[in-house]
């Protein structure tokens, strides 16, 4: 599957871009040419040789702030996705095995989590619980977990009721072999797609929260925070939001692209693969691509 992703141009592009972003998140703070927290007299300067992206309203180097802020912004979305994976997938699998009461209860809880107005809740709960990064990650992680619940539950349902697993057991296959051969192959692509999608969502939410100043204390640099401070001085540096917005949009695009590529490669829904094949065949075939039913409930977010 990994080789398949790499063979598609879109897959290569998204993987390369995301690697750069993750390297940025790890080494960014060390690469910053200036102290991101210390202001100078050089207020609201335009980009120059000393300050490649100019300075903000306190004279702090914008490039340094973006580099230093990449840790929270990027690793935050990874944390959100991992928390969501555990909070969602475990009850999702258990819901198939633990009886109808548990099933009904978790299903209604998932309904409720989906119905909650996401951002207002994330903001309010994070601020109430002490306004720190761990709280923010936990709250957002729990709120995006229904996507994993559904994926895990669907996979567990198909496996628990499938005849090929039953047949494998009857023909004397070991549990380990069944898990490797059938269960893994069924769950892994679905989990990977949801993980990539959730990281994209988590990234947007973390950026939104830091933009609002929720989850971080003011001087700490974040991409959302840089954007927020640029917003107040549009008259002086009207191009300033461009740097952070381009970074944010490209990262989200890369996550979504990666999810699509995994879906293509694993043939999970078959939708994207079919469209691509038909494109090659020509214009008339394109019409058929629309016949694949939409999955409003399958898409996380």
């Amino acid at each position: 599957m990994l080789r398949g992703i790499w063979q598609l141009p879109a897959g290569k592009l998204s993987v390369l871009f995301l690697s750069v972003i993750i390297l940025l998140a790890i080494f960014g703070p060390a690469l910053a040419p200036y102290d991101p927290l210390v202001g100078t007299d050089h207020v609201l300067a335009h980009p120059s040789a000393q300050h490649w992206l100019g300075t903000d309203y306190l004279g702090r180097d914008v490039l340094s702030r973006i580099l230093a802020g990449s840790t929270i912004s990027v690793l935050g979305s990874v944390q959100v996705a991992v928390i969501a994976l555990f909070v969602g997938a475990i009850p999702g699998i258990l819901s198939v095995y633990l009886g109808r009461t548990f099933e009904w209860l978790t299903l209604r809880l998932v309904d409720t989590l989906i119905a909650l107005p996401f951002l207002v809740f994330a903001v309010a709960v994070t601020a109430l619980l002490g306004n720190g990064i761990p709280q923010a990650m936990l709250v957002v992680g729990v709120m995006v977990s229904p996507a994993f619940y559904r994926v895990a539950r669907a996979a567990a349902l198909t496996i628990s009721r499938s005849q090929y697993v039953e047949a494998a057991i009857l023909s004397g296959a070991s549990i380990g072999w069944i898990v490797r051969k059938h269960v893994w192959a069924k769950i892994l692509p679905a989990i990977a797609i949801t993980l990539a999608n959730t990281m994209g969502t988590g990234f947007v939410v973390v950026s939104s929260l830091t933009f609002l100043g929720i989850g971080v204390q003011p001087p700490a640099p974040t991409w959302g925070g840089v954007l927020a401070s640029d917003l107040g001085y549009l008259n002086f540096r009207p191009y300033a939001p461009l740097f952070t917005t381009v970074l944010i949009v490209l990262t989200v695009l890369a996550f979504n692209l990666l999810a699509d590529v995994i879906r293509d490669v694993s043939g999970e829904s078959g939708r994207a693969l079919l469209i691509r094949r038909e494109k090659k065949r020509g214009r008339t075939a394109r019409q058929t691509s629309a016949t694949i039913p939409p999955t409003p409930h399958g898409d996380p977010q």
Partner: protein, 345 residues
């Protein structure tokens, strides 16, 4: 009771003519379905309020944090908590609070003792103006784009619209908002970049010019989703056998499209609208921050930073009520459009 029956009946069956007995059967099954969907919504509402109520315990905050100094004696704290009814058993506190909600009473703020329902009303007016207009833009623009793409499928128009919706759907609302401010407020100076004028004070023009940009920023996600779902739904519906049947019967293609295809193909888009509505209500926090508006998102963030739990709960309950009510409406609309969809509840 009789009036409800007839209402549901027409709701389920529209203007179609049928025998009286089968009409009754349909009405009865629709009633049962409506009842079942109402049970689902009531459960969701109940659980959501329970989660909201639990915030008080989870946060560990009490009015003592806001009103008393660090050196307050345990007796003073206990007296204050007794005054706010916080020494009662939890279930009783929940019942009291829930009873208040049902009557529209959201309690009093820990911060200044003001009635939260009153505090919220003017702020909610701002947020709901924006969310309402965003919904309107989302539905209209989304429908226009989706229908256009479906009617001109496989042409460059379709491809252009699909590219546009794909791109727009990944843009976070605050990025769109900042872009709109930079272009239309700072550069072109067509609209104000911040602030709000109530409808009853400035009239329609100023009101619209202040909420236009925030609504547009908030609506983009809905526009993209509705356009995409509608396109797929319409193309799918246009291949059904009843469309061929209608063609054979000699109906004009326009009539088939507006009468048959649109009605049957708009289900997925409507479902999507119901699912995305929480984002419209919740996204207000960010758009309000971009456009410097004092709506309920700002109120929630400010109150939460102060530790004013009842005020935060008030905002959340309002948002929950809106989402649940809207989804109930969407479900009823879906049943009205195609009664078969009710089976999915």
């Amino acid at each position: 009771m009789a009036s409800i029956h007839t209402e549901r009946e027409t709701l389920a069956y529209g203007g179609a003519s049928a025998g009286l007995s089968s009409r009754w059967a349909v009405a009865r099954s629709t009633l049962a379905l409506a009842f079942r969907s109402i049970i689902v919504f009531v459960t969701v509402f109940f659980l959501a309020t329970l989660l909201t109520f639990a915030l008080q315990g989870l946060s560990g905050l009490s009015p003592a944090h806001l009103q008393l100094s660090e050196s307050a004696t345990p007796e003073a704290i206990a007296a204050l908590e007794h005054e706010w009814g916080l020494d009662l058993p939890l279930w009783q506190q929940y019942l009291n609070w829930f009873g208040g909600i049902v009557q529209g009473d959201l309690g009093r703020s820990w911060y200044n003792g003001a009635d939260i329902s009153l505090l919220l009303t003017s702020r909610a007016a701002i947020s709901l103006s924006i969310a309402g207009l965003a919904l309107l833009i989302g539905v209209t623009l989304g429908a226009v784009l989706g229908i256009t793409a479906a009617k001109f499928q496989t042409t460059w128009i379709d491809r252009a619209i699909t590219t546009f919706t794909t791109f727009v759907s990944v843009l976070p609302p605050f990025v769109v908002g900042i872009g709109l401010v930079a272009i239309f407020a700072v550069w072109l100076n067509w609209f104000p970049s911040a602030g709000y004028v109530p409808l009853d004070r400035g009239g329609l023009g100023p009101w619209l010019s202040h909420i236009w940009l925030p609504s547009l920023a908030l609506s983009m996600e809905a526009v993209a989703d509705i356009a995409r779902q509608l396109r797929v739904g319409l193309i799918q519906a246009s291949r059904e056998n009843y469309v061929t049947g209608a063609l054979v019967r000699g109906l004009s293609s326009e009539r088939i499209f507006w009468g048959h295809v649109l009605r049957n193909g708009s289900g997925p888009a409507l479902t999507m609208l119901g699912m995305k509505f929480p984002n419209l209500i919740g996204g207000a926090v960010v758009t309000e921050a971009v456009f410097g508006l004092a709506g309920y998102g700002r109120f929630a963030a400010d109150s939460a930073s102060r530790g004013d739990v009842p005020a935060v709960q008030g905002v959340l309950v309002l948002a929950i009520v809106l989402v649940v009510a809207f989804n109930l409406l969407v479900n009823l609309l879906l049943v009205r459009l195609s009664p078969a969809s009710a089976r999915g509840i």
